[in-house]
């Protein structure tokens, strides 16, 4: 069972992934794939909260208008070394100013990539099954004060000046 972290706290995941053949209930919090969301979008009632999961091949520029009002977007890391979703995250946060929950799911959601995920704008993590939430969190917090060469995705700093 995967552990879950949101905003540097170990939490219970309060969203349910909805399979393609499952009907959408009238109330609740669900995550659906992008294609399903595009179908559901015109008909969704106000008692249901829907987050959207994107494949890592999606070009954010082409789908943003359909995502702009979503409270949650989930991005995928199908293998440990496939970093495409890092670019998707940066585009969502930096270009479109997405402020909702940005979730990472998949094989790269591990202690050794925790810091990069946070730095690209993720703020929620569905840990890979073999990972421990305490260790993941400890790593995240251990670099909270690090002055990286690049600006953090969500903190605007002057050009190339570093944090002091």
């Amino acid at each position: 069972m995967s552990e879950f972290i949101r905003n540097t706290e170990i939490a219970a995941d309060d969203f349910v992934a909805l399979a393609d053949d499952q009907p959408l209930p009238a109330t609740g919090r669900f995550i659906v794939p992008l294609a399903r969301w595009l179908e559901l979008r015109p008909t969704t009632g106000s008692d249901v909260v829907i987050g959207v999961s994107l494949p890592n091949t999606t070009d954010i520029d082409t789908v943003w208008t359909a995502l702009a009002d979503r409270p949650l977007i989930e991005l995928q890391f199908p293998t440990f070394g496939d970093g495409r979703a890092y670019s998707q995250a940066r585009v969502l946060r930096d270009r479109y100013g997405f402020t909702g929950e940005l979730r990472a799911r998949g094989s790269a959601v591990v202690v050794d990539q925790a810091v990069q995920l946070a730095r690209c704008g993720f703020n929620a993590y569905v840990l890979r099954a073999d990972q421990h939430a305490e260790e993941f969190l400890a790593r995240l917090l251990s670099t909270a004060d690090t002055a990286w060469y690049q600006r953090p995705s969500r903190r605007r700093l002057p050009a190339t000046a570093r944090q002091t």
């Binding site: 496939d82 970093g83 495409r84 940066r90 930096d94 002057p158 050009a159 190339t160 000046a161 570093r162």
Partner: protein, 556 residues
């Protein structure tokens, strides 16, 4: 040279601690082997044929004497007493023990060095002209821009898991000494027609099994916009580069498959949407970086010295060294002196701990305490007063570091090959030694002149064989080592990829084949001034082919 501030030091120290933790978790069985592999590669650590290999980063090839002493210490303490300079201006150690690597990294951090991103599918060491800052044909010193790019690339959170490795090279001179056209991105620092400083950007070059020359995707990028543009290039690559086949994952394949025009369009579209202001190199920042590379305090009137000319006239061995291993310096009375790491019988690029210590001391005495590594696997003391060149030569000569062969055939580029590398199909060091043997005397007899011979032990092309004037590639045929030969490659301004001569040669035949190639050149050249490359381009492959594959040649 660039000196770390507290932030630089903190980042490197943090990575040492993180790597120590990763190594301990791996040794305790808590980290899967394939994941530790990906993580250790990002710290330059391979597990090789005989032992781990650790590759240490030397940004744009620049080292202080103190750092060279530390490399000597590492060679002695953790290795078998020597190191190997690579074609990326880095140094590799072939025999460290896995458990000691965190300690090596801690030692390196104490002299502002590291092994970060020297391997793995991320942005690698930034390389540059080894004569940066002293070359007469240079527009501006490229190193401040290299350091800015190094910092931008170090622990970049978005680009640490790319489809494949990614290499930058910078050049700012009329002669490209950094092989920029065979890099993933080559940056040429230029002025536009109105005199503004900026860059021409080349993308999609590379060696390996599909060698290609980079395409110019932007004629002129303003100086302030370097990082936003590089963000755009890397983002397009991270999103669209192929991940289904490791042999098609480099950016050169993406550029080829999309076509340079379409690729350029995508980069420009991405760049148009990036918040450029957030990446702008403001004048203060540029100035701060340039202040790290201010010229040394050269002695006025150094060119009034007469002893240099006298020594040249009196000592023919010294004159021969100067002719081959000494280059002009932009300051009159100063010289750039090449330390040859290609003596007879030694693997190209290898250097012992004692030699490293000596070079460090000589740099302190004669060259402002700085040493440069070249992508041809030699070293340079770049700021030597001409009055000191003779003493320096004598000290280098006594240590076997003054072979007068820079740019000559025996100054070959060579990868570690089968002797060390787990990827290699064939030995390259032994072949290099054989060729050296055959040419040791011939070179003097005929004054063969400048020939760049480059050799790789496998398709990955670490020895840059495809851009060698003569290129040699080791291949495996049913368990035997064979060697393919190419002619006419070049990594300089007139960059070109070599042409295959024909069927490959056996281990016994290869040195003889190189001799026949050179003999063909000697027979065909117009005069002594026509170099091998010029001659090949004029006469073409036919006479070489005839000589290589005629029955006589095969029988001999």
């Amino acid at each position: 040279m660039y000196r770390y501030d507290e932030y630089d030091q903190a980042l490197v120290d943090q990575r040492v601690a993180e790597f120590r933790d990763q190594t301990q978790r791996f040794l305790a069985g808590q980290l899967p082997e394939d994941e530790f592999r990906a993580l250790r590669l990002r710290n330059g650590l391979y597990l090789q044929r005989f032992a781990p290999m650790l590759r240490i980063s030397i940004p744009y090839g620049l080292l202080s004497s103190k750092q060279v002493h530390m490399l000597a210490h590492i060679a002695r303490t953790y290795d078998k007493g020597y190191g190997h300079f690579t074609t990326r201006q880095n140094i590799q150690f072939n025999w460290p023990k896995l458990e000691t690597v965190p300690d090596i990294l801690a030692d390196l951090a104490s002299v502002e060095m590291h092994a970060i991103q020297t391997s793995g599918n991320c942005i690698r060491n930034i390389t540059a002209d080894h004569l940066a800052g002293v070359a007469r044909d240079e527009l501006v010193d490229p190193r401040p821009y290299c350091e800015i790019t190094r910092q931008w690339a170090t622990f970049h959170p978005e680009f640490n898991w790319l489809p494949r490795k990614f290499k930058f090279a910078f050049s700012s001179s009329t002669t490209d000494r950094a092989a920029t056209r065979v890099h993933d991105v080559g940056v040429h620092i230029v002025r536009n027609e109105t005199g503004e400083l900026g860059y021409s950007i080349f993308v999609g070059g590379g060696l390996g099994r599909m060698p290609m020359l980079a395409h110019k995707i932007r004629e002129f990028l303003p100086e302030a916009d370097l990082l936003s543009y590089l963000e755009a290039v890397l983002r397009v690559y991270n999103r669209l580069g192929r991940r289904d086949n490791i042999h098609r994952a480099r950016i050169k394949i993406l550029v080829k498959e999309l076509g340079p025009a379409k690729f350029t369009e995508l980069v420009e579209a991405e760049w148009a949407q990036i918040d450029k202001a957030a990446f702008t190199l403001n004048p203060d920042e540029l100035q701060r970086m340039k202040a790290h590379f201010t010229p040394h305090s050269y002695a006025a009137g150094a060119d009034a010295d007469r002893s240099y000319a006298a020594a040249l006239a009196a000592d023919s061995a010294f004159a021969s060294f100067v002719r081959r291993n000494v280059r002009e310096h932009r300051v009159p009375g100063y010289k750039a002196v090449f330390v040859s790491l290609k003596p007879l019988g030694v693997a190209p690029g290898d250097i012992t701990a004692a030699q490293m210590d000596l070079v460090a001391e000589l740099a302190k005495l004669y060259s402002f305490g700085e040493v440069r590594a070249t992508h041809d696997q030699n070293l340079v003391l770049a700021d030597v007063a001409q009055k000191d060149v003779y003493s320096l030569w004598q000290a280098l000569k006594a240590a076997g570091l003054a072979t007068p062969n820079i740019g000559l055939l025996t100054d070959m580029i060579c990868c570690p090959g089968l002797d060390f590398c787990s990827l290699a199909n064939a030995g390259s060091i032994g072949v290099a030694a054989d060729i050296n043997d055959r040419f040791d005397s011939l070179d003097h007899l005929y004054d063969i002149g400048e020939i760049k011979l480059k050799m790789s032990g496998c398709m990955n092309g670490c020895g840059h064989h495809t851009v060698g004037h003569i290129g040699i590639l080791g291949v495996d045929k049913k368990g035997e080592e064979w060697y393919q030969v190419t002619l006419g490659g070049s990594a300089e301004n007139d960059a070109s990829l070599g042409d295959r001569t024909g069927p490959s040669f056996s281990r016994d035949e290869i040195a003889g084949a190189v001799v026949r190639i050179v003999e063909t050149y000697l027979g065909q050249r117009r005069d002594e001034d026509e170099t091998f490359l010029q001659c090949y381009r004029r006469v073409g492959m036919a006479p070489f082919k005839t000589r290589l594959y005629s029955e006589d040649a095969v029988a001999a």
